[in-house]
Amino acid sequence: MRILLVGNPNVGKSALFSRLTGIHIIASNYPGTTVEFTKGYMKLGEEQAEVIDVPGTYTLEPTSKAEEVAVEMLKDGDLVIDVVDATNLERNLNLTLQLLERQVPVIVALNIWDDTRHRGINIDVAKLEELLGVPVVPTVGVTGQGIKGLVRRLPEAKVPKTAYSGSSSDERWARVGNIVSQVQSLSHRHHTWRDVLEDVSDHPVGGVFIALVVLLATFWVIRLIGESIIGYVTDPLFEWLWTPLLMKVSLALGSGGFWHSVLIGNLIAGGIDYFQSFGLLSTGFYIPLGAVLPYIVSFYLALGILEDVGYLPRLAVLMDTLMHRLGLHGYAIIPTILGFGCNVPAVMATRILESRRQRFIAATLISIGVPCAALQAMIIGLVGQQGGQYVAMVYGSLFASWVIIGLILNRIVKGFSPELLVEIPPYRLPPWRVIGEKLWLRVSGFIKEALPIVLSTVLVVNILYTLGVFDAIANIAAPIVSGLLGLPKETVVALVIGFLRKDVAMGMLAPLALTVKQLVISSTVLAMFFPCVATFVVLFRELRTRDTLKATGIMVAAALIVGSLQNLIL
């Protein structure tokens, strides 16, 4: 038995999915959070039923890639839970009627029921049920209200007797209008805090002001929280607990030899230096847990709040004009912002863009100009030691490249870029529990996925180093790296390792005693040069081979040009 959750974007499908299956997945207050389906299971009587969270769609005649996925999946469903936003009945029912025309049993979840009252919307549920000919259950995805009733009535889902198959869209809208006029009545609504806030952020000048305040505050909070976690939690833990333990291990291993260099690495001035020692247990643990994790926590906390409040689509509207120049539209800002966490979900999120051209440009620009949180944490850690202005140079170079390459791609990439057309969700006050669950989901995801890869990368580095492979690579690439970029030939090794993990690659720069200028150049080049392997895999999946190769060519060329320019100018 396969149950599909189908509905418009941003109506609470993912929230209901979490409630039904107990599996927590990312839900956010903007259209397009779920671009790929997620599968889970629930008990239905004695049976184990599969539940699928389908990407949101306004219509069964798809207009974007995410919508195509949704329509494709409908073919394999045994039962559809049609999730309807009770505060936008008319538009949502149009999809409902399209679903009812397919020969598949449907039950309607009338979600966001809690919001109807203070919006002055009254819906006669029994009447709606009668007119549609399928069960209708009011639900509240964020609190779980009504979910039991929904589950209890699942077996009643059916294909209505009065299904009008193959009706034209005008006929369908007429039927929707007829139903809405019979079941919905509107009463006076109160002007609330969010009406005021929405008015200000929609105002052309007020909106820009709010955007600046929001973005500055976000950066400030991310830094403050990240630094505090490092200063008060992780560094003390490493220093007072982990270091003494490692020193004992080091002694037990006789302070040298093969195992010592793999596990502990080099002792620096008789002790462990978490950036330089490069053993599995020293640097291998410190990079993901000590240096990167604190910023993952602070970044995703800030992102989660921005997402759930519903601010991002408003930012998209403000950014639209700039993004147009880059061959995109404002909504591309959402994958871009996700990229500051991790490029993998960011490239996947480019599916919310309508055309292939937009997806190519967006994915390429993200891979070039948007450093992930892990890389940023290491840049802040290493380059930041030398002074904030150097960190600013790296970010400035990346931002300039992002803009300039976008301007160029807009000129040369063939194809069509449709304009922005998107729903702006209402501001919502997200419950802290929801924010916390989402943060935990992303942080534990990072630990599960990144830790093993970081450890393997450090291991590989050690083995290749012992085998002398690195010397060979360094010698081959020396002319480019030294000649063009003005870097010592050993930095090549770090660039190569950047393919596995960019944070580890940054860590490999630490022992090289680079000048500040070299540090700026190598971090910029490392960020732009090549995506990490995980991003590379999704690029292949999203763009196909030819476009991925093109994108990669652009990245390599851009990195070399920007690095050489920095070498000349700085």
Binding site: Y58, T59, E61, T63, D202, H203, P204
Partner: protein
């Protein structure tokens, strides 16, 4: 469409806060379909909420939903204001 009843404008030309009825969309089938899916279609009442500087999007209210529409598209949606 009945004529002489009100002024016909594009969304772009509407004033902020003004309400009008969509009477036509100048554009191909694809555009019509995208707009229709969002419940912007002839006969529908829309209220302009804001416009953005530098040829940016127009935002509208349609029933309870708020939508942002790119500059070019906003120029191709014709409304009649009373």
């Amino acid at each position: 469409m009945t004529m002489h009843q009100g002024r016909q404008l594009t969304l772009r030309q509407m004033e902020i806060g003004q309400t009008g009825t969509v009477i036509g969309i100048l554009g191909g089938r694809g555009l019509m379909r995208r707009l229709e899916a969002l419940d912007i279609r002839p006969g529908k009442k829309v209220t302009k909420v804001s416009s953005t500087l530098f040829r940016g999007p127009v935002t509208l209210r349609v029933d309870n939903a708020q939508l942002a529409i790119g500059f070019g598209m906003a120029n191709r949606i014709i409304v009649e204001v009373g």
